[in-house]
């Protein structure tokens, strides 16, 4: 545990060291071969110092009186995106698991559904984000209106369900023959076999799928926020602050750090889930 923490800190220091080392040693204008710049410029505009970026996090977000510090604004945006991504991940995981169960139950469903599930992932995300938004804005039930964040979560779930469906199906089909025959000898039904043998046996396949799903949900959230123009999340902030980079280069890096934290939290959550399910991972290499 301590070893992992030390290694993590060392890794961060190594990245910061490489950044500053390149900035100190490489020419101001980067490295240009012919007409192509193969290595970036090292000006403070293109590559601010690490300490400047960190210092900027503590300063107010804008020159307006009473503006909150930058790190707080970024943290708020990360929290908003995290909630949306979590909603998308939960929905995507539920849909993925249901599809996997259906496909495991019926051979016909697997033949009919699996090609479409694979095909669904070839549609580029950007292409239908605006459509989702315009459909969503038309939904109004009673006094309730479809909020914009649900459109973002829907797109996140669209990226999350795929690895879960495929991974869970693989897991459900990986049950040992001796176990299914044993359950058959007990005259156990489909659901009893599913609950007692096939679902637990699927966990080692399911966890990597859930991890991929979480990564998909985070990427989906950030991208969808940009293309749907959902202003509260980290995705939109990335674009806005990048626009201010010419005057305030350090500020543009803050939401990037925020996005990294978002990914780490999602990964950490799955690691925790793996810890909770460790009983079902016996026999897996540690």
């Amino acid at each position: 545990m301590l070893r992992a923490a030390v290694l993590g800190v060392l890794g961060l220091l190594a990245v910061a060291g490489a950044w500053e080392g390149y900035k100190a040693l490489a020419p101001e204008d980067g490295v240009v071969v012919g007409d192509n710049r193969v290595l970036p410029r090292t000006t403070d505009l293109a590559m601010p110092h690490v300490w400047d970026m960190l210092q900027r996090l503590g300063e107010p977000v804008s020159s307006l009186r009473g503006a909150a510090p930058l790190w707080q604004v970024v943290a708020d945006a990360v929290l908003v995106s995290l909630k949306v991504a979590a909603a998308g991940w939960v929905a995507g995981t539920a849909i993925g698991l249901l599809l996997a169960l259906l496909m495991a139950r019926l051979r016909l469903a697997e033949w009919g559904l699996l090609p479409w599930i694979v095909l669904s992932q070839t549609v580029p995300l950007i292409a239908f984000a605006p459509m989702v938004r315009s459909w969503g804005s038309r939904i109004e039930i009673g006094g309730w209106e479809w909020p914009a964040w649900m459109s973002v979560a829907l797109i996140a779930s669209y990226l999350a369900f795929f690895p879960v469906a495929v991974g869970a199906l693989r897991g459900l089909q990986s049950t040992d023959r001796v176990h299914t025959e044993l359950m058959h000898s007990y005259d156990a039904g489909w659901w009893a076999t599913m609950r007692r043998v096939r679902l637990p046996a699927a966990v080692p396949h399911l966890l990597p799928a859930l991890r991929l799903g979480a990564a998909g949900a985070v990427v989906g959230t950030v991208v969808a926020e940009v293309s749907i123009v959902y202003p509260d999340g980290i995705g939109r902030m990335l674009v806005t602050f990048a626009g201010q980079a010419s005057g305030d280069p350090e500020k543009a890096w803050a939401p990037i750090f925020g996005a990294i934290v978002l990914g780490l939290v999602a990964g950490g959550f799955i690691a925790l889930l793996g810890l909770l399910l460790r009983t079902y991972r016996r026999g897996e290499a540690p």
């Binding site: 000898s185 007990y186 043998v197 016996r282």
Partner: protein, 307 residues
């Protein structure tokens, strides 16, 4: 299978049925009628009449079993022995209703095999222990009881009994990966006994164990089968194992799989199965008899059709 105690690979010194030995002319001595008399009208544990089983599509058919007649009396210990591809495992799987016979009739306690399976008339153990790795030893043994909704208190008591029966009292809370192969197999046997079946089906349960563990397990199984009084159908490759355990050894031959001989060991149920028995001349003579019976049939040249 993981082992927690170092088990040196012991060279297999047993007589294996596929030992190359010249065929000897030997008249097939068939037990004229192995039908036991059931004085109280109780049906036999297993009664197979003209059972055949073919696998494969219409174009490439493999006959695993051909016209097999077998009766196992209640409480009788029967070993099925024969070369690879003689259908001994298939026969056991038919009795367990894991496969359906292509033709012939098969009754377990006077009922169709499927009905007997639904009624949980048999317990089964395979060559692989087949324990659920995420369950403790106790929870693995409790699995059939849990599936058939035995009350919690009864379940707990029965599991405690069984854990003691197979000598794993200290390991009830261990997980399968913390046990040696022999211990895992003992858990599997305890699980097969959980619902006090009147018939035990065992498909080479000691096949993957080293020789020393194997002999110890044989002695334990003999004791357990005596204590429970269940009939046993025991599939094995090993001649001494078959003679050591069984009341009757059923010899099978391959292509097509059929029963060629039956040898009553004559070792009574009350005889203690221990090292003395293994060194008994009477035991040796029965081993020889079974070996000769095995080689009387055409010896399978290859094990191409396992099962």
């Amino acid at each position: 299978m993981t082992t927690d105690r170092p088990t040196a690979p012991v060279p297999d010194q047993e007589d294996h049925v596929d030992d190359p030995q010249p065929d000897r002319e030997r008249p097939v001595r068939r037990a004229t009628d192995s039908e036991p008399d059931h004085a109280f009208g109780a049906p036999p544990a297993v009664r197979a009449r003209g059972v055949s089983k073919t696998f494969g599509s219409r174009r490439s058919q493999v006959t695993a079993l051909s016209e097999v007649d077998l009766t196992v009396a209640a409480g009788e210990f029967v070993a099925l022995i024969g070369p690879s591809g003689c259908g001994k495992s298939t026969l056991m799987r038919l009795i367990a209703d894991l496969e359906a016979p292509t033709s012939g009739s098969l009754e377990v306690f006077g009922k169709p095999a499927a009905r007997a399976r639904a009624d949980q008339d048999y317990g089964i153990a395979f060559q692989q222990a087949g324990l659920l790795p995420w369950r403790t030893v106790a929870a693995n043994i409790a699995l059939p009881l849990e599936l058939h909704r035995a009350p919690r208190a009864e379940r707990k008591q029965r599991v405690a009994e069984l854990v003691e029966l197979v000598g794993l009292g200290d390991f009830a809370k261990s997980r399968p990966d913390q046990l040696s192969g022999g211990m895992q197999q003992r858990v599997a046997i305890a699980r097969s006994l959980a619902e006090r079946p009147r018939l035990l089906l065992m498909d080479e349960p000691f096949g993957a164990l080293d020789e020393m563990t194997r002999e110890r397990m044989q002695a334990e199984l003999a004791r357990i089968s005596l204590e429970t009084g269940a009939a046993v159908v025991f599939v094995t490759h090993s001649i001494p194992e078959a003679v050591f355990l069984a009341d009757r050894v059923v010899v099978m031959s391959a292509r097509p799989g059929r029963i060629t001989d039956e040898i009553v060991t004559g070792i009574g149920r009350d005889v203690v199965r221990d090292e003395h028995l293994r060194e008994d001349p009477a035991f040796f003579s029965k081993v020889t008899e079974v070996r000769e019976a095995l080689h009387a049939g055409p010896v399978s040249a290859s094990g191409a059709h396992e099962r």
